[in-house]
């Protein structure tokens, strides 16, 4: 066997796992269906960048249709699934808002009587948060009062900026929580990262190498350690052997030829849509592989997203800055049942962009009043003078929200696509409405002369979680607390698919910490590990 471990997917969880296993001498092969990001297209100083960014750095695979993408039928979903299929995965285009989950996120059954507890606690994961924060070059300030005290990230936080200071003062007056926000944005040169230049284009890839993305923070070292990375390698199915173990994967290479990759252990790191898609496409059973529980693909959680924007007299020069978040607030994160729902949301304060963004329906409203008489004055009023809260709302796991195989729409190599079926729950709807109302109060208290609650839009499914649920009972979960499939002892899932509940946080910090913990557990138990010989 040429490789000890095969990893499917070169995003953050795949990169973390590959690097860590290679450090311990494992022979690792990674198959990635997309390419390396082409930063020559991060032409942030060109006047046409606001127009070309959507084409070159767009989040929706159905619109982008890059070689590494596959179709996702979202006609029966309230939210579209967004992702970046390439080396670095979603970190290439994330906003770099780096949020640990809070202790209650791991104990929602015990504390709130809903869904499931995680088979681990905040304290179990805390050392791994510390380590991945060093690896990704996280900036922030330790001892946030919304988290247990402990070691914080390695770099100082991004500046609050005039908008952050103004809203922070308002929260002090209201008695509401705020804290200098944690970001995967280097505030000075650090490892292979460069200091942030505050051009505000984090969401369209960083042109300056300041954002902590796995292609920069992990892949160079992983390759030095001997990890073999094959891009444009689209996995069609896992190889299931007669003894029930997985022997690797069949994939289609860049030239359209089918290949086999064989390894003793296989790790899936293909995100909350790609991982269940692959399991459902594998094996002889119509239910797919590792699915005796029937839970593969179910409990899809995507975080309904709310935005509330305030317009101020003060000039914040709000087309720039880290984006990212200046400050965050977790004031309303914990459950208060008197509000009419359970769980909560995290708020992150962000810039609002350049002139072109001032005319867009999001966040300014579909019945955009900017057109016609007064257009120029309206643009001047918003441009530079606005800031917005982005609200990440916790989504409860529901079996009817799910990923299934779409045998009609296929990718460029003929592999069936995915379909998502997702409806916003009543709890999520109430939660978002409550938080939007409080965020409006926050901005008014900060002195906003106008506050706009953005309309609900579908294209906000950045966070793809829950579709191979982790648990201790094989009857109700897909993987155990080590990320190992209950049904297949040499098959693992190390990505966000394993989350039992979604928390109300940007998920990459916890995806990363979990992947590192899973990798360490795989290393510790290597002697007992069943492998496909």
């Amino acid at each position: 066997m040429e490789h000890d471990v095969l990893i499917v997917g070169a995003g953050p969880s795949g990169a973390i796992t590959a690097k860590r296993l290679a450090e311990e001498g494992f022979r690792v092969l990674v198959l990635e269906q997309g390419d390396w990001p082409d930063y020559s297209k991060a032409t942030v100083h060109r006047e046409d960048f606001p127009l070309t960014a959507g084409r070159d750095w767009g989040w929706d695979p159905n619109l982008r249709q890059a070689p590494g993408d596959y179709p996702i039928d979202d006609t029966e979903s309230d939210i579209t699934a967004l992702m970046w299929n390439g080396v670095g995965g979603g970190t290439v285009v994330y906003a770099a808002q780096w949020q640990r989950n809070m202790p209650s996120d791991f104990r929602v059954k015990t504390l709130d009587g809903i869904a499931d507890d995680w088979p681990m606690t905040y304290e179990d994961l805390e050392p791994y948060y510390v380590r991945v924060e060093r690896d990704f070059g996280i900036s922030g300030l330790a001892n946030d009062t919304a988290f247990p005290p402990g070691e914080g990230p390695p770099l100082p936080p991004v500046p609050l900026g005039p908008a952050g200071r103004r809203v922070a003062k308002a929260h002090n007056d209201l008695g509401w929580h705020w804290w200098p926000a944690p970001n995967a944005i280097a505030t000075r040169d650090y490892g292979g990262l460069h200091a942030c230049q505050q051009v505000g284009t984090c969401l369209q890839a960083c042109a300056y190498g300041a954002k902590g993305t796995a292609d920069l923070t992990h892949w160079p070292r992983a390759l030095e350690l001997g990890v073999e990375l094959r891009t444009r390698a689209r996995v069609r199915e896992l190889i299931v052997r007669p003894d029930g173990l997985v022997g690797g994967a069949r994939y289609i290479d860049a030239d359209g030829n089918e290949q086999e990759a064989r390894a003793g252990v296989t790790v899936l790191a293909a995100n909350g849509v790609g991982t269940p898609r692959l399991l459902l496409l594998s094996g002889d059973s119509p239910d797919g592989l590792a699915n005796s529980s029937g839970m593969v693909g179910k409990r899809l959680m995507m975080h309904p997203f709310g935005t509330v924007v305030g317009v101020f007299d003060e000039d914040f020069r709000a087309w720039q800055g880290p984006w990212g978040q200046f400050i965050h607030s977790l004031e309303f994160y914990e459950t208060d049942e008197s509000r009419g729902f359970v769980r909560g949301a995290k708020w992150g304060l962000q810039p609002t962009g350049g002139p072109f963004s001032m005319t867009s329906a999001y966040p300014w409203g579909a019945e955009n009043e900017i057109w016609g008489e007064g257009f120029q004055d309206a643009v001047r009023g918003r441009l530079g003078h606005s800031t917005m809260w982005g609200i990440i709302a916790e989504d409860l796991p529901e079996e009817s929200n799910r990923v299934v195989i779409d045998r009609v729409n296929r990718d460029a190599d003929g592999v069936p696509g995915a379909k998502i079926e997702y409806r916003l729950s009543e709890n999520s709807r109430r939660l978002v409405e409550f938080h939007q109302a409080r965020a409006k109060e926050s901005l008014l208290a900060a002195g906003a002369r106008d506050v706009v609650v953005a309309p609900f839009i579908r294209s906000t499914g950045w966070h793809l979680l829950g579709t191979t649920v982790m648990g201790t009972d094989p009857a109700t979960s897909v993987v155990d607390a080590q990320g190992r499939c209950h049904d297949v002892p040499n098959l693992y899932v190390f990505d966000g698919s394993v989350w039992p509940t979604s928390a109300g946080m940007n998920p990459t910090a916890t995806i990363a910490a979990l992947a590192l913990r899973f990798a360490e557990q795989l290393i510790e138990t290597r002697r007992e590990q069943k492998v496909a010989a």
Binding site: D48, P156, W178, F356, G372, L383
Partner: protein, 139 residues
Amino acid sequence: MALTDAQRAQLGAIADQLIPAGGGMPSASEAGVAGQYLDEVLTSLPDLGPALETALAAVDGLEPDAALAVLREDPAAWGVLTAVVPGAYFMNPAIRAAIGYPGLERRPIDASAEPDYLQDGLLDSVIARGPVFRPTPTD
């Protein structure tokens, strides 16, 4: 791709419904939204050209305000129009100057500076309030 003079005139008239002259600034057509800056937009995003032609053909012969009303009801056409018109308008350097937009500038973070919230005690009341999270329950 090149639009005909008639198509450009049609686009200019519709664009002026979206961006009339005001605030001491020119209208869309006066600012070159159907001319030089349309060409720049379509050079950057050639795929918009056919979509724009389709949208214009659908409202050929209508008065500008009636055309706009039709285009508003067609999400694809409206999407193209609201990309092309402001996109081209803000390509014009005189327009950017008039709204006070210098473009994106490199402003490196100075991490050596002492954070202002430490100097003026902005965080003090947050810290004084104490923890705001529920700790992990003990069995």
